[in-house]
Amino acid sequence: MSERVRDTGSAAIRERVRAVLPQLTDDPSTVDLPAFRVDRTGLLDVMRVLRDAPECGFQYLSCLSGVDYPDHLDVVYHIFNLQNGAGVCLKTSAPKSDPVLPSATAVWPGANWHEREVFDLLGVRFEGHPDLRRILMPEGFDAGYPLRKDFVDSRPAKVRLVRSR
């Protein structure tokens, strides 16, 4: 364990990622990891480079989450290199009128359930996902996406699991 380098120098990681992916813009709102923002059109290519380029080698998707902003939806990827412990945060966004993003399952298969959760609770549709179904809400739930700030539970009370006895 001792010879394994724990790479937490954010500036150095940022430089290395910059060298292979100059098109990424910095995202200063995240402080614990080097954070980049990427447009959704080039997302899959950027992910592949982040995983495969020897300077990066981020083969582990640790967390995939969604954020609801007033006018758009963000999806945030936390990815790590298990050899040296380096990690970066990648952010992308989609407008609420067209919440479609390419699925990360082609790059990191572990994104499968994470994407289902973001779809379930925030309504981001991931194109190319093998099985995009609701994961936490019950089957047949059709009142919307409950983690959106403007979500109102419009179901009549008797639909909300009344006594089935």
Binding site: E139, F141, V162
Partner: protein
Amino acid sequence: MDVSGQDAPRSWLGTPPPEAEGRSSEELPVPLWQHLPGVLTGNVQSFINWARSNSIWYMTFGIACCAIEMMATGASKYDFDRFGMIPRASPRQTDLMIVAGTVTEKMAPRIKTLYEQMAEPRWVLALGGCASNGGPYHEGYNVVDGVDKIVPVDIYVPGCPPRPEALLHGVMLLQEKVRWVQSAEKTART
């Protein structure tokens, strides 16, 4: 145990006769069994109730944070085993379902299925605020406001989470309830 004492332990011997109400034990005729040291009389139901109340096997089943307290209660410090409570991994072998945690709408049909798989007589203990009425998630978008909306509940233990002592108290109340069952079989209440 001392069977010749004046105050017979009630839970061993079933209900006291109606004429015993409000009268001290000296006024009552001495029951026959008090002349026979070492012999206990009672009815079969009392014996069954006694056996049942001291071997309540519960389902290994936890759905949220309250399950941690249930595990603590089952571990060595609080020691469920001394009540004859043994965790069973199959609902078909259990008498008691401890609903330890938040019942989501997705989980609710599964809980009902588990309950229906249990053999009768069966009991349900709602552990914590969530299982009692939704607790901190009352009226949440995916939360059933209490497990009593889907299965009949015998004992409610409040708290968030309840301490192991509270669960033990709930279990002792349940034992009391089991001991006072009068009919030959607890009627199905689904």
